[in-house]
């Protein structure tokens, strides 16, 4: 078997057959299509590192910061979130707004939040304030965010998840960006808190590093941030008031990012910034099943948004050219079309060519990926990482990571197909069904 794969491997390297030439042309298409993006991102990493050195890192003003924590059934883990916000090094006023959705069912969470109230008061700090909003009727995450937006007094509004905790310099680093009038939102860097739990969480932690910590840093250097993550989004409150808060439906983070980006065509200098040093820590599913189930929902929701709701709005006039291309390439092609291409291509190869040949072909692709990932991670660790000791261990996971990424792509194809056929986004656990059904899309 191994001999035949080796032979196939050699023949691919040396062949000039017309059909094989086509296949060879097609393989690099997959490989090199991601290649330019990869190079682009790597170039961005250097650019970020260069800009970071020149950056003026002082706090000029101390605006009030409102942190909205949307709580549901997190229970006691919300205490970590509130604590990590209370002990921020930011000297200005931080208003922590904890919205407990469905406070009747989620008594435990409500009690945990109320206990924090005593704790924050007990610390006797005049620059921290905890506001608790119990929403007795469940209304979903969007309604929690909008409720908090109503009472928030801050100039900067943070939409945070109840199970995400933050580094103590998070607010300081985030607020610095708002010194620039054109920065209207900051996307935070999410890291995996429970990375050491299992192999599944390790892979997800590596994925977060590659796609968020490194990937978004690279894209941000060119003023392209495809999404402000829902668990950790930081906004100029003025902009939220302008767009009228969050809209009902799933994937509200991508939704609001898109709606903010629709102003970019008219306000050419507006920017969304990704800062790898604005760090939050979140828990991810501990099993592969949990991971794939979660992604099934996310990918499906993504399709619902860009495939249905905003399909007509993806125009360069509305988004500006850079964002238009990034949306088309990253979101439409990489996230929606590519999973199908990979799935069908794999099936096609096995159908047309002998197994050994296909495996040899995949091996070439695999080698390319491992090499690329290694370079990518190395650059990240050298240029960006602020947690060297923690991040260096991921070099050991790189040889296995392509398998994980491949399975993810197949899973994404299923998710999108499911969304297209069954309108799965109407069946989310992010909000009760009677809220989702009222959405127009």
């Amino acid at each position: 078997m191994i001999d035949s794969i080796y032979l196939a491997f050699l023949s691919i390297i040396n062949s000039h057959n017309s059909l094989l030439t086509f296949i060879l042309m097609f393989t690099p298409f997959v490989v090199f299509f991601e290649g330019p993006l990869l190079l682009f991102t790597i170039f961005g990493l250097f650019r970020f590192a260069n800009d970071y050195l020149k950056q003026d890192s002082s706090l000029i003003r101390l605006p009030i910061v409102s942190c909205c924590i949307t709580c549901y059934s997190e229970g006691n883990s919300v205490i970590n979130t509130i604590k990590s916000l209370t002990f921020q090094t930011y000297p200005g006023l931080i208003e922590i707004i904890a919205v407990v959705d469905g406070a009747i069912q989620n008594k435990e969470t409500l009690i945990a939040v109320k206990n924090c109230s005593k704790f924050v008061e007990g610390m006797n700090m005049n620059n921290r304030r905890l506001v608790v909003i119990p929403k007795w009727q469940r209304g979903g995450r969007v309604s929690s965010l909008n409720a908090a937006l109503k009472v928030a007094q801050g100039e900067v509004f943070m939409a945070l998840d109840g199970d995400t905790s933050f580094d103590n310099n998070m607010v300081v680093n985030a607020v610095k960006h708002f010194n620039d009038k054109n920065v209207i939102a900051v996307s935070g860097n999410l890291r995996v808190r429970n990375a050491s739990k299992s192999l599944a969480t390790r892979f997800q932690a590596l994925e977060y590093i590659l796609s968020i910590s490194a990937g978004k840093t690279g894209l941000s250097a060119f003023g392209i941030v495809n999404n402000i993550s829902g668990a950790f989004g930081i906004f100029r409150k003025k902009i939220l008031d302008l767009v009228g808060g969050w809209d009902t439906g799933t994937a509200e983070d991508f939704d609001i990012t898109t709606r903010i980006k629709q102003y970019f065509g008219r306000n050419k200098n507006w920017r969304i910034v990704f800062d790898p040093y604005v760090v939050g820590h979140t828990d991810v599913p501990e099993t592969f099943l949990g991971y794939f189930t979660q992604r099934l929902r996310w990918e499906g929701d993504l399709f619902y948004l860009i495939g249905r709701k905003y399909l007509d709005n993806i125009k360069p006039g509305l988004l500006n050219w850079a964002n238009y291309f990034s949306t088309v390439i990253i979101t439409y092609f990489m996230q929606i079309i590519l999973p199908f291409v990979i799935t069908f291509y794999t099936v096609y190869l096995f159908y047309v060519f002998p197994g050994a040949y296909v495996i040899a072909l995949f091996f070439i692709v695999y080698l390319f990926y491992v090499f690329a990932l290694f370079i990518y991670l190395l650059l990240y660790v050298l240029l960006i990482s602020d947690r060297l000791k923690e991040d260096i261990i991921y070099f050991f996971y790189i040889p296995l990571f392509p398998f994980f990424a491949f399975a993810s792509r197949i899973n994404a194809a299923f998710a999108i197909a499911h969304s297209v056929l069954n309108k799965s986004h109407l069946d989310s656990n992010m909000a009760p069904w009677w809220v989702l059904r009222r959405g127009r899309f």
């Binding site: 604590k83 930011y90 006797n124 905790s165 310099n169």
Partner: protein
């Protein structure tokens, strides 16, 4: 014993008042004193309400301390006897005078404690409430007790009445902590360093580095907007992961000590004493009422009461039993001369005189001391008996030497008061050797009783 029965109700007023026969109006305390009138009681008219405090204090400190004092207006002062009209005032004063007749002793020689009892006796169900006075040393005072005290600074004599069950505490009103040096309630508390007792402490946010275990104040860790451990240089980013807050949250600027809770000490405003609050005395203030025993105590014959004070020192047997033992021992002695004994008789001769001169409380003290001293002379085999004529019989078995009388007179001399009026105690003793052939217990006691020397 003489009693002065007042003949007119004294009214303090500048107003024109429709006078009843038995009323006299005065415009000041001095004009009342000058008139030399003997008051039935006092009445403060509405126009004198403002100055009632002065007048009522004069009354309670004068020789008319026990007289009723009413007011026309409702004034919340314990020293007054309430709001009534003139007719009611006269009626109640007369009732009080009648009640006073029941007491068999003179009101002139009374000590503070007896005065208080009479005061309470005249006023049915009177309850003395502690009055809150922010500037008083213990925050609370008993106004009537203060007025009746000979020494205004010493009012603790009422506690003796409570110990004797003449008065009792009724309701707890408040609990006050007092300086253990000067008994002042004017104290305040300060937080100090438990190590060096310095005042200069502050609440600091402390940080505990997980990397190296170093604990220090937040300022030491702060480098710009980052937190970096000054010892191991670890960058502390996330609470609960890299670092946490230790329970100790205070530091002393004087000695650098870091601690959980500051120590609280008290300081006395009055005398400047300071120390641990545990050392403070706890004083409870109750309302006070007179017991049934207190009423009896006043109504009883004083002499009996004084004689009964000897109960505290002696254990009596009944007269019957005493004679039985005595006659048995006489027979025993006749069989065998080795069973010698002595019979001692003590007669308290001038109890009335002592009470008249020293007052009841002092008299009680005198006789209590006497009884105590005598009981110390006795042996535990001695048997004591008393009869209703203020005589004490003491049977002393196995007594040969004749020295008892001398020792008792020495004891008496040692406690004899220096004043003119002395205790008269008659001591008679008979020894078994002096026994006449035909005498029995009864005749022996008679013989001893009749012997006057």
């Amino acid at each position: 014993m003489s009693l002065k029965i007042g003949n007119a109700l004294v009214i303090f007023s500048n107003k024109k008042i429709d006078l009843l026969d038995s009323c006299k109006v005065f415009s000041s305390w001095d004009s009342f004193l000058e008139s030399k009138i003997d008051p039935l009681g006092f009445f403060i008219a509405s126009d004198f309400s403002d100055v009632h405090i002065d007048i009522v204090k004069y009354i309670r400190s004068s020789k008319w301390w026990y007289k009723f004092c009413f007011s026309e207006e409702d004034i919340g002062n314990q020293l007054l006897d309430g709001q009534v009209n003139l007719v009611q005032a006269i009626d109640r004063c007369k009732l009080a005078e009648e009640k006073l007749q029941k007491l068999t002793f003179s009101l002139d020689t009374l000590a503070s404690s007896e005065k208080l009892l009479v005061y309470l006796f005249l006023r049915d169900n009177f309850e003395i409430f502690p009055e809150f006075k922010p500037d008083a040393k213990m925050l609370y005072t008993y106004p009537i007790i203060e007025c009746l005290s000979e020494d205004k600074n010493d009012i603790d004599w009422y506690k003796e009445l409570i110990r004797r069950n003449v008065l009792k505490y009724n309701k707890l009103v408040d609990r006050v902590r007092l300086c253990n040096k000067c008994s002042s309630a004017h104290i305040y508390f300060v937080d100090v360093c438990p190590n060096c007792k310095s005042l200069d402490i502050k609440r600091t946010r402390m940080i505990h580095c997980f990397e190296c275990g170093y604990i220090g104040s937040q300022e030491e860790f702060s480098k710009g907007y980052d937190q970096i451990c000054p010892k191991c240089s670890a960058h502390l980013k996330h609470i609960g992961v890299d670092y946490d807050l230790p329970t100790a949250q205070y530091s002393c600027n004087n000695c650098g000590f870091i601690f959980d809770e500051p120590e609280t000490i008290y300081r006395c405003i009055t005398c400047g004493e300071q120390g641990n609050p545990d050392r403070l005395m706890v004083q409870e203030f109750y309302s006070i009422i007179m017991t049934l025993y207190g009423h009896e105590w006043l109504l009883f014959e004083q002499k009996k009461i004084v004689f009964s004070i000897l109960n505290e020192s002696f254990k009596y047997v009944s007269l019957e039993y005493f004679q039985l033992v005595l006659s048995w021992f006489i027979k025993l002695y006749r069989r065998d001369n080795n069973f010698a004994f002595a019979l001692l008789l003590l007669k308290l001769q001038n109890i009335e005189e002592i009470i008249e001169y020293y007052g009841i409380s002092k008299s009680l003290d005198i006789y209590r001391e006497l009884a105590k001293r005598i009981s110390e002379i006795l042996r535990n085999t001695d048997i004591v008996c008393r009869d209703d004529k203020y005589k004490l019989w003491i049977f002393m078995p196995a007594t040969y030497k004749k020295g008892v009388c001398k020792r008792i007179s020495e004891t008496l001399e040692s406690i004899q008061p220096n004043n003119d009026v002395k205790i008269k105690l008659l001591t008679n003793v008979i020894y078994s050797s002096e026994l006449i052939d035909e005498s029995n217990a009864e005749t022996l006691m008679k013989q001893l009783d009749l012997r006057n020397d």
